[in-house]
Amino acid sequence: MTIAANSVEITQQIEWISAEQWRDSLASAHRQGWVCLDVLTAIDRPEQREFHVVLHANRVDSALGQWWGVVVPQHDAELASLVDVFKAAAWHERETREMFGITFTGNVVSHDPMAQGLLLSDEAPVTPLRKHVPLGARVDTPWPGNADPDPRRSATRRRQAPPGTRPEWFETGDGQ
């Protein structure tokens, strides 16, 4: 993962692990001192029909942090839970399950029907962080970039998709 900060490139390595090795590799990392689970979340990659599940953990004996990642196919979105490695993974996995629809096998809470709704209300869209799910505010708000000072230029301007939107969000409804 490369983060450009103030034109100086800070490069943080991400260690990719196979889905089969996910739990064992992180258990091993935990034993080696990566004990503080910082974040676990996912990235929807619809074009690749996969998710990236990424995890960042810190040490307590130094200021170091490290990323781990795993590719999870969308047709079989299941991954071994890390709750027995990092207790804090329970929350992050439930959240990732609710936001992306990934099941974490072994995370008992995420299978408990009483614990289905963690953060979202019943009216909220299902798996809202999947990219095909429209952002309501982006669909309803007129994009300020549609304005053009020069009507002649407006007529010939190549239409650009508003940033932060996907074309499929506008395919139904008013047909923009």
Partner: protein
């Protein structure tokens, strides 16, 4: 031109209205849609010129600081350096509407 300052000084974003050509690049690149430009074109004939030419006139330029995430893409894309970072952060406001800053506010 606004004085060049270190990129680290992300206090606020200033506008130099005379340098703005209403090209809309910042508006269209802004990931959070926090910039709005209202402008129109006027025909002016410079002295000695044979034909009038169209000039964009900036009517309104607003940044909604309630939406802005200080990414600085607008500063990066502005071809005329009409937008620039300024070191002093903005003060707080009492009402959400006051977070929408216009030309005068942004030029100060």
């Amino acid at each position: 031109m606004i004085e060049d300052i270190a990129i680290e000084s992300r206090g606020t974003i200033k506008l130099s209205a005379p340098d703005c050509t209403s090209c809309m690049l910042c508006v269209r690149e802004c990931p959070v849609w926090c910039i709005e430009i209202d402008s129109h074109t006027e025909q002016v004939t410079p002295e000695g010129a044979r034909r009038p030419r169209s000039v964009a006139v900036l009517d309104a330029f607003t940044i909604d600081w309630g939406l802005c995430m200080y990414c600085g893409i607008c500063v990066e894309v502005c071809p005329f350096d009409a937008l620039a970072w300024a070191p002093s952060p903005r003060g707080g406001v009492g009402e959400a509407e006051q977070l929408v800053a216009g030309i005068e506010d942004l030029s100060g």
